[in-house]
């Protein structure tokens, strides 16, 4: 496949692997966090860990949008569908996120709630136009990548006067989460970040500069293809070896320093910062999520249906918080692979194949027994 195969070339991967092997200092350990689930998925799916020396360790970060969605937020969506009788539209991977009372959107759907999987915000608008007598709510989740399409839908609905459409806004911000990971007392033992791919196409590389400047952590923005990831790891190893902490861009074919200004303006026009937002695993993080601006209040499902967010504590045995910070590995969690499996996820990291635990469960389990 053109434009894809070029980035999945096994021979080139070996070359980069040789360079990493040669340049990584055997007396050092390199603990690198790939923030995004897309990178986690690529590392797992292509078995990239096998290409790295033992002292270069990849730590899976929290950049999986469905994984970080807390129980209380899913509860809100289920409540809208069950008690207010709305048609709830959502992206497919949100369907399995665990909620209260042993529910998920998928189980609520099986119990009769009208919950529909869609592929784009345009589909949600279409559902609203086709069902003028019903309230249609779009559960808007995701990082900066999925925010602009939501902004487009909100503006369209406002312009067209689609009165039966609103959004339940759970859009979150990448840099805020990275701050939350780094701003732990006593510091974290991370030597660098593989920076987001798609998120960075929107926000650019500039927002990562404080992580290099203030926290002294190298960041290399990388694409989601396996060769991108390998190259970024090599670049991080080099920064660590040189004692540099810079924001470098491996993904130059899509990311600039400024990012997509048009998309940023659109998002800014429609959304504003929330004071705080609760993340599964990271807890309550200041200024880490978005809500609709007052001008669009009529399209805000939280206001329209007056449903407040009620925080629900995660399962006590769940180690997601430590895993998301790179302090623990999935296999060090007591309930990993027993109580908590991809079929019955307890913690956030087991929900989507991009989550650290699910990725390890699905693609890496054999290593424990090897």
């Amino acid at each position: 496949m053109k434009y894809v195969d070029e980035f999945r070339d096994g021979e080139l991967a070996k070359n980069i692997a040789c360079n990493i092997e040669r340049e990584a200092d055997v007396n050092k350990s390199y603990r690198l966090m790939e923030f995004c689930g897309g990178h986690t998925h690529a590392i797992s799916r292509y078995g990239l860990v096998d290409l790295l020396p033992a002292n270069v360790r990849m730590i899976h970060g929290p950049g999986c949008p469905v994984c970080v969605l807390p129980i209380g937020r899913v509860d809100q969506a289920i409540k809208l569908a069950r008690e207010y009788g709305v048609i709830l539209c959502t992206y497919a991977d949100t369907m399995r996120v665990p909620a209260s009372d042993n529910l998920s959107l998928m189980r609520a759907k099986a119990n009769g709630a009208d919950i529909r999987m869609i592929y784009s915000t345009q589909d949600a608008l279409k559902v609203a136009r086709e069902n003028p007598s019903r309230e249609v709510v779009f559960l808007a989740i995701g990082f900066e990548t999925t925010t602009p399409p939501t902004a487009v839908a909100v503006k369209q609905a406002a312009t067209e006067g689609i009165k039966n459409f609103s959004i339940l806004c759970d859009h979150v911000l990448t840099p805020a989460a990275m701050h939350a990971i780094l701003a732990v007392e006593g510091g974290v033992s991370l030597d660098g970040f593989v920076g987001p791919a798609h998120v960075s196409t929107v926000i650019g590389s500039k927002p990562y500069e404080p992580f290099a400047d203030d926290y002294g952590k190298p960041v290399v923005i990388a694409g989601f293809e396996p060769l991108d990831v390998m190259q970024a790891i090599l670049m991080l190893v080099r920064q660590v070896n040189d004692g540099r902490a810079e924001v470098e861009n491996e993904f130059t074919r899509a990311v600039s320093r400024e990012g997509n200004l048009k998309a940023q303006a659109l998002v800014d026009e429609v959304f504003e910062l929330r004071d705080r937002f609760e993340w599964r695993g990271l807890g309550s993080v200041p200024q880490s999520a978005l809500k609709l601006r007052p001008e669009f209040a009529a399209l805000d499902a939280e206001l329209k249906f007056k449903i407040d967010y009620v925080a629900v504590a995660d399962n006590k045995a769940c180690e997601c918080a430590a895993i998301l910070r790179g302090q623990k590995r999935p296999q060090e969690c007591k309930i990993f692979g027993t109580v908590c499996t991809p079929e019955n996820p307890v913690g956030s990291c087991m929900v989507s194949s991009e989550g650290a635990c699910a990725a390890h469960y699905s693609y890496g389990r054999f290593r424990e027994n090897a």
Binding site: G10, A13, R45, L48, D50, L51, Y363
Partner: protein
């Protein structure tokens, strides 16, 4: 005065504009007419013509295999086939991968009130053609009608009967460490043909379902005398799920080689676009065969000589592994587990 009434006259079924109504399932004259004018006319064979509650069949020589499969695919018509031929191929394949010669089929229809008779005719004719091409007659059947909104157009359940000759023993628990794993062709074609046709998902490149009856290919494979252990058609859940089933049944592990598993380009592109892994996408005209290592090359050549196995390849080996992991060496030179499918995000495909 002589009566104008013509004895035994019924107005012909309106196969152009008519629709299924509740009377077509009531057991009365309308149902009899639907059966005679549509089903019996299309499936026409001596066993069906017996017209009894069940078909009386000559016993075959050997052990009997029975398999049944319900079909609920949406959309009913898709590139490369429709629910009709799919329901014939699917059941023939389930019988054939047991090493049996498929002999007879039974077909049961659940029709939704309001379903256009013209569509039903198309489906029935497609089934009839598939069954004739495969030389496996549909010898008995049933029709029920459910109220509008209680079905999805048409559901078809087919049951197949076949006979296994002496000396042929295929079973999911017979894979042994050292055996080779063969695959008859590309993967993911059926599932992506269905998905790409669904509302809102159109790709310019045509993706055609691979739906086909595999018993001819299987007969050729069996005639080689190769020591075949397991045969299976990787339908729902795709190649990955089927191999995990076999690994579990046989208590073995497997090592696959990604570079040996072929995916048609449009399928690969569509999977890429939708974030799906072709290893988990359904096939309806492919088979997996596990055979003794020494016979694998010979078997592969025979498969490649058949029109349905032209792109066959040896995709991996059976290993000793108490955990029963199916693993894969990736094109990148790493290793990963090819796990069971978790959950189901895809719409109905078969």
């Amino acid at each position: 005065m002589t009566s104008q009434v013509k004895p035994n006259y019924t107005r012909a079924l309106d196969l152009k504009n008519g629709r299924v109504d509740m009377s077509h399932g009531s057991g009365g004259r309308a149902m009899a007419q639907l059966i005679t004018e549509l089903f019996a006319a299309a499936f026409n064979n001596e066993y069906l013509a017996q017209g009894n509650d069940g078909a009386l069949l000559p016993a075959g020589n050997g052990r009997i295999v029975v398999a049944t499969d319900s079909h609920v695919v949406s959309p009913l018509f898709f590139a490369g086939g429709d629910i009709g031929c799919l329901s014939v191929h699917g059941t023939i394949n389930d019988v054939a991968v047991m090493g049996a010669k498929p002999m007879y089929l039974a077909a049961s229809f659940i029709l939704e009130e309001g379903f256009p008779l013209a569509d039903l005719k198309r489906i029935v004719e497609s089934m009839a053609k598939a069954s004739r091409d495969a030389c496996v007659p549909i010898v008995t059947g049933d029709t029920k009608v459910v109220e509008r909104g209680k079905g999805d157009g048409v559901f078809i359940t087919t049951t197949g009967v076949g006979v296994v000759s002496d000396g042929i023993n295929l079973s999911g628990d017979l894979a042994e460490p050292g055996d080779k794993i063969l695959l008859s062709g590309t993967i993911g074609d059926h599932g992506m043909a269905i998905l790409s046709q669904r509302e809102g998902l159109t790709f310019s490149a045509p993706i055609v379902s691979d739906t086909a009856a595999l018993h001819g290919l299987i007969e050729t494979m069996l005639s080689t005398g190769a020591r075949l252990r397991v045969m299976r058609d990787p339908t729902r859940g795709g190649l990955a799920t089927t191999l995990n089933e076999i690994a579990k049944q046989s208590g073995v592990g497997m090592m696959l080689h990604e570079s040996a598993i072929k995916v048609n380009q449009p399928v690969e592109a569509a999977c890429e676009f939708l974030g799906l892994d072709p290893l988990y996408v359904a096939n309806e005209g492919k088979l997996i065969a596990i055979c003794a290592q020494e016979d694998s090359q010979r078997l592969l050549e025979v498969m490649r000589g058949h029109s349905l196995g032209r792109e066959a390849s040896i995709i991996g080996e059976v290993l000793e592994d108490a955990h029963g992991f199916v693993q894969m060496t990736t094109k990148m030179g790493g290793r990963r587990v090819v796990d069971w499918l978790a959950g189901e995000q895809l719409p109905r495909i078969c």
